[in-house]
C-alpha cells in the first residue's frame, strides 16, 4: 500500500480548512442533497464530500457509509487532493497503490474510486467529492465532466459556508462597535482629513445639542470655537502634519452647541487609516459641571485659607503621630518659629516637658479613637528659647474616606498674659490674706486672753465691752476667710479634686466640725444617711458647703430643737438636705437667699455672727460640682436647704429615649435596665438625649419603637458623640431576658466572660465574680498566670482584673507575655494588689485604661465599683479628663 504524500502547501492548506470551521459540524441537507444526486446520477452505492484533516479524512456528507471519518493513511481522497484533475481508480485491486488498502481488502471493499478535488477560494485543495463502487468501473469523458460539475456545486456550497461565517462575524463586530458608540458617555465624532464630520455618536449629538445626521459634513470649526483640525492636532502635540497623534493627550477647548451657546469641552483626538484614507477620531466631553465644582472648591479653599492665614489664634494641621503638616502665621508668630520650620516639627518638641507630661499620651488617645478632642494649658518653648503659656486644643479631623484618624487640628492660644495676671492676683490675695490676718490674730488673741480671764479678773461692764470687740474681731476673721474663698471659687479657679466619696462620710465630717457650736446652742444634730450613696465630689469643698448650711441651721434653731442632715438618692442624683425647726424664711426671700450678703433680717449678721457669704459659697461649690441648690420653707415651721450632687456613677449607663411620651413603658424599661445591674438614664427628646450622652457617656441607647424613631435617630446621627453610641430599637413589651440579649449584642463588654479576673485567693476570686454579677457583668476566673494567658488566648476579654502576686508568675510577667503576643492591645486593666507599686512598676503594667487599687484598702465592693466604673468609661469612651 502506498500512503499519499503530504501536499507541498500542507500547513497553509490545513489553516484554510480550519478557517472554514466546518470540521465536526453536524450533517447538513444542502450537502447531503449533492451526494444523493451524485450517487443517483452515477449509480454508485457510495458518494462522499470528504475533507482531509491532518491525520484523518472527515466526511461532511456521505451516502452509503456508516462512519464519518477514517484515518488519512488509508485515504483515496488524500491522493486525489494532490492533483488538479479527477483521480479515477477503475479497479483498486489492479492498482499497486491500493490493492492491499484495508478499505479495499476489507469493508467497504472499494474497487472503483473517482474523486474530484474541492478548493477553497484561495486555491487550497481541502477535500473531494468522490464516487465509490464495489465493482470495477470506468468513467468516460462525459462522466468526468459531470463529476467536475457536481464537485463544483459542492465546492461553492462549502465556500458559501465560509462566506456566511465571515459575514456574520463582521456584522457581530460592527454591532458591538455600534453598541459601544451608542452607549458611551463621551461624544465620539469621526472626521475626514479635510476636517468634515463623517459620523457622530448619540453622546456627541447630545453634547452639541444636534439632531441625528445634523452634524454630518460639518467642519471642526463649527464644533470647536475658532479652531481647525490642524490647530487641534497642533495643540495635542502633533506639530508636523502626518506626525503620530497621542490619543491620550487631552486638551480643553471651547465647544459650540447648535444653538450657539458655548461650553468647556475636554477633547482627545486620535488618528486611524481606513481604506488608505486617514480618519480622525475626536473624543470629547462637556466638563461644565466639573469646572464649576472645581471653581467652587477652589473658592472655598481660598476662603478657608484666608481664615487660616489671618486668624489671630494659632492654627496648625497635625499628623496624629505628632508632626505638624501646616501652620498659620499666628501660630508661627506665637511660637517665634518660621512656618516652614514648624512643618515636620513634632508637637512634643514644642511642649515644655519640665512638668513631666508630654503630649504623646493624649495623641495616642486620639489615634486609637478613645478621644476626639483634648484641651490643655501647657508651657510651650518658643523658637528663641523663651517660654509661653498656651491653651492647646487638639481635635481629630474627620475625613470622609479614612477609617483611622490621620490628622488633627491644633489650636493654640497665647495665655501668657492671663497666666501672669492670675499669678499676680494670687500673690496679691496671698499677701492680703497674710497682711489682714496678722493684725487680726493680735486683736483677736489679745482680746481672747483678756476676756478668757487669763490676764486677771475685770469689772463686768469692761468685760462685756471687750466681749463685743472680741465677737466682732471673730466676725472680721470669718469675713476675710469667706471673701478669699468667694474670690477663688468665683473666678472658677479652684481645681476640684473630684473623687468617689461616701455621702455619709461627708455628712459626718461636717457634723463633727459644728459639734461644739451645736452643743453650745443646745441643738441636736441628727444624721440620716444610708451607707451606700457615693457621690463624685471634692470632699473638702462639700464638707465646707455642708458646714455652712449646718452652721446656719444651728444658728437659727431654737434651743433644744433638732437639725436633720440627710442624704437620699433622687432622679439619679444624690440629694442632700439640711433642715431646721427654726423660724423659717419668708417666701419672697427664698429665691435671693443664696445671693451674697443677703440675710433674712438685716440684724441677723450682727446677732448671729454670720458673714452673709456662707450660702453664696455653698451655692458656688455645689454648682461647680454640677449640682443644684435651693431652699424650702414654711414660715414659722423651719427651713430646709437641699442640694444635689452627681452620683459617683459606676456601671454602664443605658439611655432610654422616650420619644412618644410613653412614660409608663419607658419607666418599665428603665427598671429592667436597673434590674440588669446597669444605670438607666432617661431622655424625652433628641436634644436631651444628646446632652445626656455628652455628660454620661452611656454604653447603649434604647429607643422604643414609635413614630418618631427615625427622626430621633437622624438627630443622633448628626452629633459626633451620640452617633458613636449603639442604638437598640426595642418593642413595646420586651422581656428582661430579651433586653439583656439586645444589650449584649450592642455592648460587647456585657457578653459572658467579658471580664477576666486573675486572682489566686480561693475565696476572693469567687467573691469578686459574684460582686460583678450584681452589675450585670459575667466574669471568667483564672487562678494563676498560665490560666490567665490561656483564657486571653481563647477569647480576648473586654477587661482584666489582675492580682499582681500569683503562685506561678507575677502580674508583670502576665502583662509582658500578653503584650508580647499582641493580645493586650488597649484592654483596660484593673490592677489589684497588696504591693505598693511605684511609678515605674505602674508604667510596666499599663494596658489600655489602667487603674490601680491597693488590696489593703479595697473591699470586693470597691473592686466591683471600680470595675464597673472602668467598664462604663470604656464603653462610653469619654475624653480623657
Amino acid at each position: 500500500m502506498q500512503e499519499a504524500p503530504l501536499p507541498s502547501d500542507e500547513a497553509a492548506r490545513l489553516e484554510a480548512l480550519r478557517a472554514l470551521a466546518v470540521l465536526d459540524t453536524p450533517q447538513e441537507e444542502r450537502f447531503d442533497r449533492i451526494t444523493r444526486i451524485a450517487a443517483d446520477l452515477f449509480q454508485v452505492p457510495i458518494c462522499t464530500i470528504t475533507l482531509i484533516d491532518a491525520n484523518r479524512q472527515w466526511f461532511k456528507s456521505c451516502i452509503g457509509l456508516d462512519v464519518r471519518e477514517t484515518p488519512r493513511a488509508f485515504s483515496f481522497c488524500a491522493h486525489a487532493v494532490l492533483q488538479d484533475e479527477t483521480l479515477v481508480i477503475p479497479d483498486a485491486l489492479a492498482d499497486p497503490r491500493f490493492a492491499d488498502n484495508p478499505l479495499v481488502t476489507g469493508e467497504p471493499h472499494i474497487r472503483f474510486y473517482a474523486g474530484h478535488p474541492l478548493s477553497s477560494p484561495d486555491g487550497y485543495k481541502l477535500g473531494t467529492l468522490c464516487l465509490i463502487d464495489r465493482e470495477p468501473r470506468t468513467l468516460d469523458a462525459a462522466g468526468l465532466a459531470r463529476l467536475r460539475d457536481v464537485a463544483k456545486v459542492a465546492e461553492n456550497e462549502l465556500n458559501a459556508l465560509e462566506l456566511s461565517h465571515a459575514l456574520r462575524r463582521l456584522s457581530d463586530s460592527e454591532q458591538r462597535l455600534h453598541a459601544v458608540m451608542d452607549g458611551v458617555a463621551e461624544g465620539i465624532v469621526t472626521f475626514a482629513a479635510d476636517g468634515r464630520v463623517l459620523s457622530a455618536n448619540p453622546a456627541a449629538l447630545a453634547t452639541f445639542a444636534a439632531e441625528p445626521g445634523e452634524l454630518l459634513g460639518f467642519g471642526v470649526d463649527q464644533l470647536v470655537q475658532g479652531m481647525t483640525l490642524d490647530e487641534i492636532r497642533a495643540r495635542v502635540g502633533a506639530v508636523q502634519p502626518g506626525a503620530e497623534l497621542d490619543g491620550r493627550a487631552r486638551i480643553l477647548v471651547t465647544g459650540r452647541r447648535r444653538d450657539g451657546t458655548h461650553f468647556p469641552l475636554e477633547l482627545a483626538i486620535s488618528q486611524a487609516t481606513v481604506n488608505g484614507e486617514p480618519l480622525f477620531i475626536g473624543i470629547g466631553m462637556d466638563v461644565t459641571h466639573q469646572r464649576e465644582a472645581e471653581r467652587a472648591l477652589r473658592q472655598s479653599e481660598r476662603r478657608f485659607r484666608a481664615i487660616f492665614d489671618s486668624a489671630a489664634i494659632g492654627i496648625g494641621l497635625l499628623h496624629v503621630e505628632g508632626p505638624f503638616v501646616d501652620a498659620n502665621a499666628a501660630l508661627a508668630q506665637m511660637l517665634r518659629r518660621p512656618v516652614a520650620g514648624l512643618r515636620g516639627t513634632h508637637l512634643r518638641e514644642l511642649i515644655d516637658t519640665a512638668d513631666g507630661v508630654d503630649g504623646d499620651e493624649l495623641l495616642s488617645a486620639l489615634r486609637s479613637g478613645r478621644a476626639r478632642q483634648f484641651r490643655q494649658e501647657r508651657r510651650f518653648v518658643r523658637g528663641d528659647g523663651s517660654m509661653m503659656w498656651g491653651s492647646l486644643t487638639v481635635s481629630v479631623l474627620q475625613e470622609e474616606d479614612a477609617q483611622e484618624p490621620r490628622f488633627a487640628i491644633a489650636l493654640l492660644e497665647d495665655i501668657t498674659a492671663r497666666r501672669e495676671a492670675e499669678r499676680v492676683k494670687d500673690e496679691f490675695v496671698s499677701v492680703v490674706s497674710h497682711e489682714l490676718r496678722t493684725p487680726l490674730t493680735s486683736i483677736r488673741g489679745s482680746l481672747g486672753l483678756v476676756t478668757g480671764g487669763v490676764m486677771g479678773e475685770l469689772p463686768d461692764d469692761v468685760k462685756s465691752m471687750l466681749g463685743v470687740a472680741e465677737q466682732n474681731a471673730e466676725r472680721l476673721v470669718r469675713l476675710v476667710n469667706d471673701i478669699l474663698d468667694i474670690e477663688r471659687l468665683g473666678a472658677g479657679r479652684i481645681d476640684l479634686q473630684l473623687a468617689d466619696a461616701a455621702a455619709r462620710g461627708l455628712l459626718e465630717q461636717a457634723v463633727d466640725t459644728v459639734s461644739a457650736m451645736a452643743l453650745e446652742a443646745d441643738v441636736r444634730v441628727r444624721v440620716d444617711a444610708p451607707g451606700d450613696v457615693h457621690v463624685r465630689a471634692d470632699a473638702l469643698r462639700i464638707v465646707q458647703a455642708l458646714t455652712n448650711l449646718l452652721g446656719n441651721a444651728i444658728k437659727f434653731s431654737p434651743r433644744g430643737s433638732e437639725v436633720l442632715v440627710a442624704v437620699t438618692t433622687s432622679d439619679g442624683a444624690a440629694l442632700f438636705t439640711v433642715a431646721d425647726e427654726g423660724r423659717g424664711i419668708p417666701p419672697e426671700l427664698l429665691d435671693g437667699i443664696f445671693e451674697r450678703f443677703r440675710q433674712v433680717d438685716a440684724s441677723d449678721s450682727r446677732e448671729k455672727g454670720g458673714t452673709g457669704l456662707g450660702l453664696s459659697i455653698a451655692r458656688t461649690i455645689v454648682e461647680h460640682h454640677g449640682g443644684r441648690i435651693w431652699a424650702e420653707s414654711t414660715e414659722g415651721a423651719g427651713a430646709s436647704f437641699h442640694f444635689t450632687l452627681p452620683l459617683y456613677a459606676p456601671g454602664l449607663g443605658v439611655l432610654v429615649i422616650d420619644g412618644e411620651d410613653e412614660t409608663e413603658s419607658v419607666t418599665r424599661i428603665a427598671e429592667q435596665v436597673r434590674a440588669l445591674g446597669h444605670r438607666p438614664l432617661v431622655a424625652h427628646d433628641a436634644a436631651e438625649a444628646i446632652r445626656l450622652i455628652a455628660d454620661a457617656r452611656p454604653g447603649a441607647i434604647l429607643l422604643p419603637l414609635g413614630d418618631r424613631c427615625a427622626e430621633i435617630r437622624a438627630a443622633l446621627a448628626l452629633d459626633h458623640v451620640a452617633r458613636e453610641v449603639p442604638v437598640v430599637l426595642v418593642g413595646p413589651s420586651l422581656a428582661t431576658d430579651a433586653l439583656l440579649e439586645e444589650l449584649r449584642t450592642a455592648i460587647p463588654l456585657l457578653r459572658p466572660g467579658a471580664v477576666l479576673i486573675v486572682e489566686d485567693d480561693p475565696s476572693l476570686g469567687p467573691i469578686l465574680c459574684r460582686a460583678l454579677e450584681s452589675r450585670g457583668l459575667h466574669a471568667r476566673l483564672a487562678r494563676d498566670g498560665a490560666e490567665a494567658i490561656q483564657a486571653v488566648r481563647e477569647a480576648p476579654p473586654g477587661l482584666i482584673v489582675l492580682d499582681v502576686v500569683l503562685p506561678d508568675a507575677d502580674g508583670f510577667a502576665i502583662v509582658d507575655e500578653l503584650r508580647g503576643e499582641g493580645l493586650l492591645g488597649d484592654t483596660p486593666l484593673l490592677v489589684y494588689s497588696a504591693l505598693d507599686l511605684d511609678a515605674r512598676a505602674r508604667e510596666r503594667l499599663q494596658g489600655g485604661k489602667t487603674e490601680f487599687l491597693g488590696k489593703a484598702d479595697a473591699t470586693p465592693q470597691d473592686v466591683e465599683r471600680r470595675v464597673s466604673e472602668l467598664l462604663g468609661r470604656v464603653a462610653g469612651e469619654g475624653p480623657p479628663a
Partner: protein, 125 residues
C-alpha cells in the same frame, strides 16, 4: 501629751506675746520664743532639747519650711514634732505643708483660749 518645752517661732512681736501667754498660762507649756528662723536655730542648738516646735510659715529671710528643713537636719533631729502656724490656709497650702514633714498645721488667727487644746490635738494625732 504632757506640756513640756516648746519653741515658738514668729516674726510678729504681738503674736509671739499672745501665743506665749496662751500656751504658758492656759496650756502649761514652757515657751521659748524666737523672732526669726535664724534665732530659732540658735536656740535649738544652745539649750536643753524641746518637746515641740510651733513655727510660723511666712517670715522674712528664713521662712517656715526652710527653718523646718534646717532644724531637722541640724539641732532638732528627726523626731521632735513641728506644727506650722499659718495665715494661709487654703486646702492646697495645708497639704503642701503636711508633706514637708510637719505634724500638723494650725490656722491664724487662733483662739488664744483654744490654742493649747488644738496643739495637743495635733500632737496626739
Amino acid at each position: 501629751v504632757i506640756p513640756g518645752r516648746l519653741l515658738l517661732v514668729d516674726d510678729d512681736d504681738d503674736i509671739r506675746t499672745i501665743a506665749t501667754i496662751s500656751l504658758e498660762r492656759v496650756g502649761g507649756w514652757t515657751v521659748v520664743a524666737a523672732s526669726s528662723g535664724a534665732q530659732a536655730l540658735e536656740l535649738a542648738s544652745a539649750g536643753p532639747p524641746f518637746d515641740a516646735v510651733l513655727l510660723d510659715v511666712m517670715m522674712p529671710d528664713l521662712d517656715g519650711p526652710a527653718t523646718l528643713d534646717r532644724l531637722r537636719s541640724g539641732p532638732l533631729g528627726p523626731d521632735v514634732p513641728v506644727v506650722f502656724l499659718t495665715a494661709k490656709l487654703q486646702p492646697a497650702d495645708q497639704e503642701r505643708l503636711n508633706r514637708l514633714g510637719a505634724a500638723g498645721v494650725l490656722a491664724k488667727p487662733f483662739d488664744p483660749m483654744g490654742l493649747p487644746r488644738d496643739l495637743e490635738r495635733v500632737l496626739t494625732r
